[in-house]
Amino acid sequence: MTTAVHSDVRMLRTQVLLILAGCVVAIGLLWALVLQPMRDEERACRHEVQDLERELGVFQVRMEDGDLAGRLSSAASRNRQLVAEWARLRETVDTFRDRDAIREALPTYEDGRIDFKVALFDAREQLVERAAKAGVSLPEDLGIPETIGTEERAELRLWQLAATVRLVQLAIDARLPAISVIESETPVAFSLDDDAAQMAMEFPTRMVLRCSFRHLVRFLDNLSREGSFYALRRLRVERLGEPGAEMLEADIVAGAFLFHLNSGLAEPGSEREPDVPGVRVPRTVRVRRARLAHTRREAPYDG
């Protein structure tokens, strides 16, 4: 009886101890394997939230001048305005609207040098003939050298010739009495997109004219018309002779714009496009292009 009772007590003690131990082990395991990792994750999560809040705080400070959406909307609106203005400007200032017809008549690269000389000669002959008919005095040459360097492109020189011929023709049409100087200045290139795949060229021509004020105004009117637009870059009009004399001497520089040029007219130093001697690329264009290329690498536009 006593042994049985003692055995029963031992068993009951063991059971109670097992219950306690099981409870402690279960709680310990839950603590170590579940609760602690969850708390670690929660702590990490809160740290991450704090970092995010810090970053968001920076945006909040930036948004004190206006929220990003509003600024983006303004920028987008400005972008639309600029695009519309650009389309309008292109339409207005394009001197060579018939460029496709001219381009078809342009010579190939191999025989371009000879063709240029022929074209220059023909142009001069035609202008002299037209000037004679209109009673306009022309200088000895058109201010375009006949020789082409080995590194120069005949196509470019032909466009330059075309720009000069058109300008002289406009002067003849305005019945200006005399053109004393004609000089083709160095063309200037403008990139029309970020990577200069598309370029516009300005072919400036300097002319010194002798005419009355009325003739001059008519000539300037012709220059600002669509289809025969020349950008007036410099103007200097001086009265000749004694007071009361009607004759003026006008020294002007006017540039013809040619769009849709690409291959071969990129800026110097470009990997894709060869250098084109005799073409100036404004420094602002090169700086902008380099900055855009850098920005494109650093922060791609994800839309």
Partner: protein, 511 residues
């Protein structure tokens, strides 16, 4: 340990009485009572008793067994104020004293209580073999819950106390008159103060009040009690008779006449008798009441191992419950943490989305602004080209409107042309040459050179005033001497006219 329901088992010499009782709302409720005749053979008695209890359906109910008075001793020791001994010391001393006198091992238990302003220790000591027998009976009847073992005399007093009338003062003496002897127990309130087992011959129902020894012994006990508790607060005010022997005629009268104390039968003492001849079940009712007792632990003579077993068995479900509750609490904490973590994750995700949106907006804004800047750069020379023509037109119209008829204009030029700035053909490509500046910025300043015959330049002043009034002309003033061009040929031509040279610089903006 307190049970909701117990069975009090009063084992007599010839019979066993059982009472099943429970406590409802603090009051003892007797649900059932019965008795069975027991044979002399011990093994047969146990078998019969087990069958009887099984037949009554008491096998699942804990059984409380009483130790007869002859096998135990109840001592009440007063602990006076300032006594340096602890309760354990008193108990140990008393137990050693009794064991020394009887030369027998004892099982003891005690309770400390206060009565009439005095502090007492009630020490119950039972012969170890008697307790062992009782424990083996319990173990044989119940394997799981063995119930309890308490002094039989205390059980009787509990019956008198719980079922009897409420007494305001004084002590109550209870007599349990059985076949093998008579037990006397005196108590005050709910506390037992005195107990004796009388050695006189037992009373027999067939011999009504023929034993002259019992009243005398009761009277002697009474004197003994009063000697031990002389305070008037402990004076015995009533005697309650119980046990089968008390049912004999004339017993109560004889005892009352011998002691001079009011003597009543238990059936007359209780407020409402739960059964017929309650005197036969007085002790069994008390035993059941001890199992479902209230007001804290009482005396228990259950052997230590058995008691521990009983306690552990009782505690086990609570330990299980406690463990499950702790694990549940832990799970609750886990759930809370998980919910918090999920909330944090969701909040983090939302903030990430917000930040990503802001970054995307920022990038989009930067790209759009770069596009605009690029467009501005692209448009600038072409815009200037158109702008120059407009500026020239405004300038010519303004000059025509403002020039005095007496004045002569000799030169009109844009500012760069007037200054004679010419881009050298061999200028380096990266130079910010003036003509490129002019391409980007265009005409803004127009220079007008002329001669006036008026010495005080009043006509020129008037011309400047009129120029200011023209649309598009934002400024007009004489050019500073430091910027005048030097032209001897011009000066020679105009030298004889007597006119004075003037140069006006106009600032034009296209509206």
């Amino acid at each position: 340990m307190i049970h909701r329901e117990t069975v009090g088992l009063d084992l007599g010499s010839h019979s066993a009485k059982v009472v099943r009782a429970m406590r409802v709302g603090g009051r003892l409720m007797v649900r059932d009572a019965d008795w069975v005749h027991l044979p002399p053979d011990m093994e047969e008695r146990r078998r019969l008793l087990a069958a009887f209890l099984a037949d009554k359906g008491y096998t699942d109910v804990p059984i409380v067994l009483g130790i007869p008075g002859k096998a135990m001793m109840l001592n009440v020791v007063e602990v006076s104020v300032g006594d340096p001994r602890t309760v354990a010391d008193v108990v140990t001393t008393e137990q050693e004293r009794v064991e020394g006198l009887t030369e027998q091992d004892t099982a003891a238990d005690h309770v400390v209580f206060r009565s009439a302003g005095h502090r007492y220790i009630l020490l119950a000591m039972a012969r170890a073999d008697a307790v062992g027998r009782a424990a083996s009976v319990l173990s044989a009847l119940h394997e799981e819950d063995v119930g309890d073992i308490v002094p039989g005399s205390m059980a009787l007093y509990r019956t008198v106390c719980e079922l009897g009338r409420r007494t305001a003062s004084g002590s109550t003496l209870c007599l349990d008159i059985g076949h093998e002897g008579t037990e006397v127990v005196v108590g005050r309130g709910s506390k037992v103060l005195f107990s004796r087992c009388l050695s006189g011959a037992p009373a027999r129902t067939s011999e009504p009040a023929s034993e002259p020894a019992l009243p005398g012994e009761v009277a002697a006990c009474l004197e003994s009690f009063h000697a031990a508790f002389p305070s008037p607060a402990f004076t015995v005010k009533r005697i309650v008779l119980s046990g089968g022997g008390s049912l004999a005629a004339g017993v109560a009268v004889a005892i009352e006449s011998a002691t001079g104390v009011t003597t009543v039968m238990l059936s007359h003492w209780v407020r409402k008798a739960p059964m017929e001849e309650i005197e036969r079940y007085g002790r069994a009712i008390g035993l059941a009441a001890c199992g479902v007792r209230r007001g804290g632990a009482g005396i228990s003579l259950l052997p230590r191992a058995l008691r521990e077993s009983r306690i552990l068995r009782w505690q086990k479900p609570y330990w299980l419950l406690c463990g499950a509750a702790l694990v549940g609490l832990m799970l609750l904490v886990l759930l809370g943490t998980l919910a918090e973590l999920r909330w944090d994750r969701e909040y983090l995700r939302l903030r990430q989305v917000e930040l990503a949106g802001l970054h995307a907006l920022d990038r989009k804004l930067a790209v759009t602004e770069q596009l605009n800047e690029a467009l501005e750069e692209r448009i600038a020379p072409f815009r200037t080209a158109v702008h120059n023509a407009d500026v020239l037109r405004i300038a010519l119209q303004s000059i025509a409107a403002a020039k005095h008829p007496d004045d002569w204009l000799s030169l009109l030029a844009d500012a760069a042309a007037y200054s004679g700035v010419v881009l050298p053909a061999e200028a380096p490509l990266d130079a910010e040459a003036p003509d490129r500046m002019a391409r980007r910025e265009g005409f803004r300043h127009v220079i007008v050179e002329g001669y006036t015959p008026v010495d005080d330049f009043s006509t020129v002043g008037r011309m400047i005033e009129l120029l200011h009034e023209q649309d598009g002309v934002v400024a007009a003033d004489l050019l500073g001497d430091d910027r005048l061009r030097d032209d001897p040929a011009r000066d020679a031509r105009w030298a004889d006219t007597g006119c004075s040279l003037f140069v006006i610089e106009m600032t034009v903006e296209v509206p």
